[in-house]
Every structure is written in C-alpha cells, then in structure tokens.
C-alpha cells in the first residue's frame, strides 16, 4: 500500500505575524518558512504505519511554487520515499488543491491519504474533506489515534463532545490532530540522503486542473486589541472588581 501525505509550506509557527500596512497581506519577507506542523504529524504517522509493515511507500505531495520543494525535501529527510510537487505559480485554494490531489491519486492509487487537520496560515481545515468528497471515499478528520487493520482503519477523532471512533474502509482520507504523535527530528545524514531521493514536478495544467471559482481575498487588518486591564493585589480585590462588573 502507498500512503500519500499532503504537506504545505507555511510561515513558521514561531514567527510573530505582522499585517502589512497597505492591507495586502501579512509580511512574509525574510520570514522563516516551515512544513505546516499538522502536516509533519501526518507524515510521522505515515512513516510509522510503513515501519510497522502496513505500507510499502510514503509519498509527500505539495502544491505551490518551486519554493515548496524545500518543504518536500524536509519530508524526504524525515523518511518519505519520494516527493511530488504540483507546480503552480499562484496560491491555490483548497478546492483546487483537492482536485489536483485527485489527479495524483488516479496515477498513484494510494490506500491512504493523510493531511494535517488544518494549515496554520489560512486555518481553513478543508482540503482533506474536499478530497474525500471528490474521490467519493470516507474521511476521518481530527485523528488522535489511528490503527490500520488490513483493508480498513480505526480512527479516534477529537471532537467537541469528546473522542469519537469510526472505522473506515481503505482507501480513505485522514486528517490528523496534535496529539496523534510527536514528529521525529531530522538528522544531518538524512538531509544528505534526502537530496538523492526522487522529487517529481508536475504542472497543475498538465494534470488538467484549471483554477476557478476562487474566493476573493481582500483587505487584511490586524485584530482588534483588548484594552489594558488592571492588576489587583489579592483575592479580596479580585472579588471586588468582579462584583463591580456584575460578574459575581
């Protein structure tokens, strides 16, 4: 069985986000870029499934400009066998990414496709679910535990009400949550080895996918700030403040 893992190049989670003064976007000039942290968890899970003997090959796939090859190389260094870049000069929205992944699926015939539950830039949480819909296959989102058993997988999902368990037939799409695993650290020799692993580039139009129906993204603004509060000395003063506000 092959596993496809979708990875997205995003602003590193440690970077303090600054909205550009003209409202055209956020400042990404000279900013550190990384693999979306949820996608790293997705890749780690795929590697563990392979190491447990339940998969033969792990393929990392990213959609974007050539700069995303950097994140694909990180994925290869973590242990993926090969990489595919879906090349597109414009930023793709989830529906286009899902359509492109469907074309890759037709070529590769994977048993599992794993994504992070959301990307930490757009916070959309859509691509996996959209792919499952277009592919007419099951989805198990927000996974905190997954067990592959032959032709199916049992997935524990972190939902608002607690932990939900579903069983899905393979092939399936799984999106992963934080507590599924701790991704491994990449070691230097692995980075060297990753340079020799195959990275195929396929243009979006070669896949027959045209971008249409995009959501128009307009002005960016910093979030409204909360006003500076007061400091109190002890519990008695705290209770007074709460009573003054009618909260007790």
């Amino acid at each position: 069985m092959k596993i496809l893992v979708g990875i997205k190049r995003v602003v590193d989670y440690n970077v303090r986000i600054r909205v550009l003064s003209d409202g055209s976007g956020v400042d990404t000039d000279g900013v550190k870029m990384s693999v979306n942290p949820f996608d790293e968890i997705a890749l780690e899970e795929a590697l563990r499934i392979k190491e447990a003997g339940n998969a033969d090959e792990v393929i990392v796939v990213s959609a974007g400009g050539d700069e995303c090859q950097q994140q694909l190389r990180t994925g290869l260094a973590m242990g993926a066998d090969r990489a595919i870049q879906i090349q597109s000069s414009e930023a793709l929205q989830p529906l286009s990414v899902a359509r492109a992944f469907l074309k890759i699926i037709e070529r590769e015939d994977p048993g599992l496709v794993i994504f992070g539950k959301q990307a930490i830039d757009d916070d959309n949480s859509q691509t996996g679910q959209m792919l499952a819909a277009l592919w007419d296959r099951p989805q198990a989102t927000f996974a905190s535990k997954m067990v592959v058993n032959g032709s199916s997988a049992t997935v524990t999902r972190e939902v608002d009400a607690g932990l939900e368990t579903v069983e899905v037939d393979l092939p399936a799409v799984v999106t992963v949550d934080l507590r599924l695993n701790e991704p491994r650290f990449v070691k230097l020799p692995d980075i060297m080895k990753a340079k020799r692993k195959p990275l195929d580039v396929v243009a979006l139009d070669e896949l027959g996918v045209t971008v249409e129906g995009n959501i128009e993204v307009g002005n960016h603004a910093p979030p409204p700030q909360r006003e500076k509060g007061v400091m109190v000395e002890d519990a008695a003063q705290l209770i007074t403040e709460l009573k003054n506000r009618g909260l007790l």
């Binding site: 989830p94 930490i120 999902r157 608002d160 579903v166 507590r179 002005n219 709460l242 007790l248």
Partner: protein, 312 residues
C-alpha cells in the same frame, strides 16, 4: 434576496447552541432562513430549531443511517437540499468543519471558514493566522456560498419563533465505507464549555492532575464550566475535550478565569471574545497579563483558597 440554509448541529436529543449562533449570522446576511435537521428521531431538535427567531422553515431529513453525524451521509443530504439556496452554512465546530467542506466540494465551490462578521451577502470577515490577521473575503458572484460560522463571534438568536416543520425523505442510502463506532465523552455534570457564561481554566501552572481538582472546585462554586490550556491537556492533567485555543475550543463566555496559564498566542486565540478575562499567574511577566482585564500575580493555589473562603 438570499435564501439561507443552516445545517443544524445536534446530538439527536437537543440542538447545539452553535446553531442559534448561525441564525444570528444568517440574520446579518439577510433573507429567508431555513434550518435542516438531518438525523434520526430528532423531533425534539426540530422543535427547538423551529422556535428560533426569523426561521421560516425547518426541514427534517430523517433516516436511521443519519443518526450519527457521518460527514459522507450528511453531506449527501445537505447537497440534495442545497439547490434551492444561495447560502448553505453551518457552525465552525468540529461537526461543521468536518461536514461543510464535503458539501462545498460536492457543490463544486470553495468554502469560507469561520465567518466572524458579515460585510454583505457574499462578503465576510474571517480570521487567519490564529486570529493574528482579519481578512475580507468574497464568494464569486452567482455561486452558492458554503461557509462555516465562527460561533464565538455571534450571540445566539432568540427562541420566540414558530417556523413550519417539513419532513423530507432521505435522498441517499448509507455510505457503507464508514462505520460509526461510538463517542466517549467526559460526561461532566458541569455546564458545557462552549455555551457557559463563566469558565474557569487551568494551565501548566496547576502542576498535576491532583492540582487540577482546585480548578473544578472553584468552577463548581461559581457554576462555571472548566477549560484548560494545551499544556495542561498534553501533560495529562485533564481531558482533551477541555482544551481552549486555536486547536481546541474557541469560546466567548462573559467571564473567563485563567489560572496558571502563561497565555501562548494559540490559547489567547480561543478566549479573545470573552467579556472579562481574569488571569492569575505567579510570573508577573506572563503574556496572559497583556490581554487580561483583571490580573493577579501570585500563587494560584493560595488565591483559589482565599477565593474559596471569601465566597463562602
């Protein structure tokens, strides 16, 4: 004029409050508002939905295989209904975030996540980068708007309406590829974290599962729900469904009290819409104090003990 369909969130027994918040968002969009209750034997839910203000019609799609909110099954029904509507919206809870993109893809449109404000019928504000930027987005003219609504940004609509309830047969059969096994829930007697007016939360500073007991005790005294930071959940002090923040629950109680929480941006994202934020932390430099309305630098255990005594 817009025709808006809201996909109700419920557990078969009662309507989740996020649905009433979706109604408020739909009111801001303007137009006819219908609610779809997809489920099995969810008559009580339909009655609750029909009582929500400004709802024209509640459409009940009832079938045994629709009992659990399996996205593949619910999306098939929602898409069958969608043709009559300009907007299909649901809450950006885990249910809505699981379901709505599946509906959007089947309808062949991109989806808008987390509407926090309505600029116009097709134009909205939504947060990106964990709420560090707010962006204006517009759906392409003439296409169905499929969106999730950021519940914390909206007040629940009132319940003095009386909409018609209409039954519809399910349009699809069960997806055999997905089997719902069950839900393991904390089963707490305390108020629900997402709808509580008061929330008491603990973080890494609480130190242990035992230490977390004082958080529960204070919450019970105040009639509050209990939340936690990711650090506390990861350390095993409490259950993961209590996590508040970017990857947990985003809440907007009237009062939020944070004990031993440093205030990482991912946590702050989840509480920014709270009415009053109280922070108690022994580190007076903790970032939580930058957003707290009332701050107290001190030991959380002695502060809680004092509160306990003073509140009687």
């Amino acid at each position: 004029m817009s025709r808006i369909l809201i996909i109700a969130e419920h557990d078969g027994q009662s309507l989740n409050i996020s649905t009433a918040k979706c109604v408020s968002c739909a009111q801001a969009i303007g137009g006819d508002i219908d609610i779809a209750v997809i489920g099995s034997g969810a008559d009580a839910v339909a009655a609750e939905a029909a009582a929500l203000d400004s709802v024209t019609k509640v459409i009940v799609v009832d079938a045994e295989h629709l009992e659990a909110p399996v996205a593949a099954n619910w999306a098939a029904e929602a898409v069958a209904l969608a043709a009559d509507y300009s907007h299909v919206i649901g809450p950006s809870t885990t249910m809505g975030r699981d379901l709505m993109p599946r509906i959007a893809a089947l309808a062949g449109v991109n989806q808008i996540s987390d509407i926090m404000e309505v600029n116009g019928p097709d134009s909205f504000k939504r947060p990106i980068y964990a709420g560090n930027a707010i962006v204006d987005v517009s759906a392409p003219a003439g296409s169905t708007v499929v969106a999730t609504v950021r519940a914390a940004s909206w007040k629940a609509a009132g319940s003095s309406g009386g909409a018609a309830v209409e039954q519809r047969a399910a349009s699809s059969s069960a997806a055999t590829h997905t089997r719902y096994i069950g839900l393991e829930s904390g089963g707490s007697e305390r108020p629900d974290l997402q709808s509580a007016s008061k929330v008491v939360s603990g973080g890494r500073g609480v130190g242990s599962e035992d230490g977390f007991q004082v958080i529960y005790q204070l919450a019970d005294k105040l009639g509050a729900a209990v939340g936690a930071s990711r650090a506390a959940v990861d350390a095993g002090y409490c259950a993961n469904d209590m996590q508040v923040g970017q990857t947990g629950k985003i809440i907007s109680p009237d009062l939020y009290m944070a004990f031993g929480i440093s205030g990482a941006i991912q946590h702050v994202t989840g509480i920014k819409d709270a009415g009053t934020i109280v922070a108690v932390n022994k580190d007076s430099e903790a970032p939580i104090f930058e957003i707290a309305d009332i701050g107290l630098a001190g030991d959380l255990f002695s502060v809680i003990a004092d509160l306990d005594e003073l509140l009687g």
